[in-house]
């Protein structure tokens, strides 16, 4: 049987990689993808611990997280499109003003 700790270590590594990608990448779309990586790391931890606790509740929570991530992706990508239409750039450092 695969120990839970393997999955938790993989989850930690994925979360930190997502954080690094969010911090060092400079285009908004890739930064947004990094957020998705972090969400998935959390999902992996939830499912690993659900199996360890012999309960199905963790899987339900992951189901909700995936739903919220889909909603978040829709709105986030709409905002990125809007920024690109107004400023003709998706580089994060070119977007400094709150009011376009």
């Amino acid at each position: 049987m695969i120990p839970v700790s393997y999955f938790l270590v993989l989850s930690i590594l994925l979360f930190v990689m997502g954080t690094i990608a969010f911090l060092i990448k400079r285009d908004l779309i890739t930064m947004f993808m990094a957020v998705e990586v972090m969400l998935n790391a959390a999902n992996l931890a939830f499912i690993a611990l659900a199996k360890s606790a012999n309960s199905i509740d963790g899987q339900i929570i992951v189901f909700f997280i995936i739903t919220v991530a889909a909603a978040e992706a829709t709105v986030g990508l709409a905002i990125i499109l809007l920024i690109f239409r107004q400023k003709k750039t998706i580089k994060s450092e070119d977007i400094k003003l709150m009011k376009g």
Binding site: Y6, F15, L23, M33, N43, I56, I60, A70
Partner: protein, 164 residues
């Protein structure tokens, strides 16, 4: 067999996220992320979560990433965005990442020693659905409001305004 599958999927997942950090091309990043999500779906399958594994592949690797690729095509930045010139930001973020890893490991230390239970009793989609529609009925219904709000919000945001 289980260990072999775990390490194979974990290496694919880790490697594709690493490739996403290194690569500059957004389209490649999206494709690597699809690979990472698909291998995560395999890991969910290993963890007795067959329904979540399928949802992960259909919704994440399918729908959400298609949305990403669609936006990449619409935005269409021809030149890749070059990485940050200043070296110290890279070193600073790597140092902070190491600190974050240590912190997360320390905070999860208690969970590492948890036993991997042999197999979950109830994992079929029917069991999942039964719990979802009884115990978690209100969260489920509230989710529909969230999705409607996101849908309407996205349409209102992207719609081109009429010239008045």
């Amino acid at each position: 067999m289980g260990h072999f599958l775990f390490f194979l999927l974990a290496i694919i997942c880790f490697g594709s996220v690493l490739g996403m950090i290194i690569s500059k091309n957004q389209a490649y990043n999206a494709l690597l992320l699809i690979l990472a999500f698909a291998s995560l779906g395999g890991l969910f399958g290993l963890l007795d979560a067959p329904f979540i594994a399928v949802v992960q592949i259909i919704i994440y690797a399918g729908a959400i990433m298609v949305l990403f690729i669609f936006v990449i095509m619409m935005v269409n930045v021809r030149y890749g965005i070059p990485p940050e010139k200043k070296k110290w930001t890279l070193y600073l973020s790597l140092g902070l990442a190491v600190v974050l890893v240590i912190e997360l490991i320390l905070s999860l230390k208690g969970a590492f020693s948890l036993p991997g239970s042999a197999a979950l009793d109830k994992t079929s989609p029917a069991d999942l659905g039964r719990v979802l529609f009884t115990e978690y009925l209100y969260p489920f219904e509230i989710t529909s409001i969230l999705i409607i709000a996101a849908l309407v919000g996205a349409i209102v945001l992207v719609k081109k305004r009429e010239k008045e």
